[in-house]
Symmetry: C2
Subunit: 335 residues, 2 copies
């Protein structure tokens, strides 16, 4: 027997979401939401999180899941240099779901929407054999400023925000034997790896600065640097070289490598779920872009390579040797 009716759940969620929000003319509870879109272009994106594919109910807290379901969509908006505004949430829930779990899920979503100055304006709740969280985000971007995947040109510098591999390290840590996990969560680097996995940050401000500083192309690194770079290159019709020794590896991941058997650079290149921004800039724009991203957000912007004619993505090792950078990473149908 179900623990709540659809209308009871919707009423509870409406109480959670109640309150005036900028631009929201009509929020949750009607057939659809009404919002101000302003004079700019609209930006629309959606992402789906599925139980036992993207997360396990046993090892993921509803707050973290809610937070992440918003952040991964915001990251897509950030990768265009745009601003997120409104979120829609479609939930599929087993009828055995505890209403408190759903309230916590929304609590995590509201933490994220508050962080990114967004509003949740509506959604749909339905029964489902497994938990499904589908979020769509609508936002805005000034005309002519959105940064696509397709604008990279030979000679552009390849840059990345932050550091890579922490989320993949967090996943390895979460799956490690209990004694290793217990020891690691007593360290700051251990907690940081888990935060990177469960509470990814979307680089909204950094994306907007990169757009203003003339980034020629941009993508968020959700499926791993190697795979997402191959996508950027394919869309732009270019190749690239990546100086492997310059790829910023999360220092916490290097700490983890002292405990678990893993290759930090492998996870940094193809671990996925980093949600850093990979962009290309004209060489003359590099210094100012890096300075602004660092000064405004404390985020490093690292020059890791160059866009080349052709279609090949080449890894250049510290000793100068070269090999193709395989587009390995998170493929939703490969596992």
């Amino acid at each position: 027997v179900s623990r709540f009716t659809e209308d009871e759940l919707v009423a509870e969620l409406r109480r959670l979401l109640a309150g005036d929000a900028p631009g929201v003319v009509l929020g949750p509870g009607d057939d659809a939401a009404l919002v101000e879109m302003g004079p700019h272009l609209g930006i629309l994106t959606t992402d789906l999180l599925v139980e036992s594919v993207h997360f396990e109910r046993e090892t993921t807290s509803p707050r973290d899941l809610g937070y992440k379901s918003i952040a991964v969509n915001v990251s897509d908006v950030a990768a265009m240099g745009a601003s997120p505004r409104y979120g829609l949430v479609s939930l599929g829930l087993p009828s055995s779901t505890d209403p408190a779990w759903v309230v916590d899920l929304y609590g995590g979503m509201l933490e994220a929407t508050s962080e990114y100055a967004m509003s949740l304006v509506g959604g749909d709740v339905s029964r489902s054999p497994r938990i499904v969280v589908s979020v769509a985000v609508a936002g805005q971007v000034a005309r002519g400023t959105a940064v696509k995947r397709s604008g990279a040109r030979p000679g552009d510098r390849l840059v990345i925000t932050g550091a890579l591999g922490a989320a993949a390290g967090g996943l390895r840590l979460a799956q490690a034997p209990p004694l290793e996990v217990a020891a690691a969560v007593r360290t700051e680097w251990g907690r940081e790896l888990l935060r990177a996995l469960f509470r990814p940050l979307a680089r909204v401000g950094e994306g907007q600065v990169l757009a203003l500083e003339g980034a020629t192309s941009m993508i968020d690194v959700s499926d791993g640097l190697a795979l997402d770079l191959s996508r950027l290159c394919r869309e732009s019709g270019v190749g690239a070289t990546v100086q492997i020794s310059r790829v910023p590896v999360a220092p916490e991941l290097i700490e983890l490598a002292g405990v678990l058997k893993l290759e930090p650079i492998e996870l940094a290149l193809s671990g996925g779920e980093d949600y850093e921004l990979l962009a290309t800039v004209r060489p003359g724009a590099l210094e100012e872009a890096a300075a602004k991203v660092r000064d405004r957000f404390g985020t490093p912007l690292t020059d890791i390579g160059e866009i080349k004619l052709g279609a090949e993505v080449i890894a250049v090792e510290a000793d100068g040797s070269e090999h193709p950078l395989e587009p390995k990473g998170w493929d939703h149908f490969a596992r």
Copy 2:
């Protein structure tokens, strides 16, 4: 082993969706879509269809499923008197899914988006143990013209477009013994019942006319007249009387009642999935609204009752007897 990679599937879907479309500045294939939203208010809605809850893979064609996944969202937009413009699709697919199935699903979506002058601008594809289709629609509505659920006032007439119960009849027919099904699909009424179930029509034009003619409140009847009327009354803080003998029952459902044991009026009141519009209008506006809806779209608009002070929804039978109209209908957590 998977039959395709995520990128191969996305590339195939992009080919399907290719082509310039009005207002679409950047379509599928980047981190997010860029669209013109115009000077009007934005309208946002989303709906989730889950295998073995909303449909069975064995008995639903991918074209029908694709068509319906768009139509149910468009119906929510229609219920505000607004115009749908852009669709986002999040798909969760078992890794065993035949790519041709996905192409057919999109074929059905494109039939619907073409019918409603919309564009599919992006989405997400992910692995999932069961098929999940989550659609979000963004659209537009002129300021001050959107019709909410909350505007019904005592004395308003309660009106409904079209006729009710055909989709519920279609569901009963689809689940009937093979001989009955085979006989029914040789009849026009049998095919019409199945069409109502698998290919629901969203009343976009009718919704816009009702908005222009001053409808005070409106909702689409997705979960059954009784349940959706109770929602409209609750949001408006009013009660209602419904003249049961005036409720338009789909004639095809009455034909079905000659073959299967069922009460047509029961299915018309609480069968669900009709996607007709239930609205309230001031008494003086009724005649012109009905004439315009009929003349422009060939759709009947039937006066079935009246909005009353209070909170009770009362059914008035043909003999004048009265009883509460139970808000029975499709509750996603009750079954």
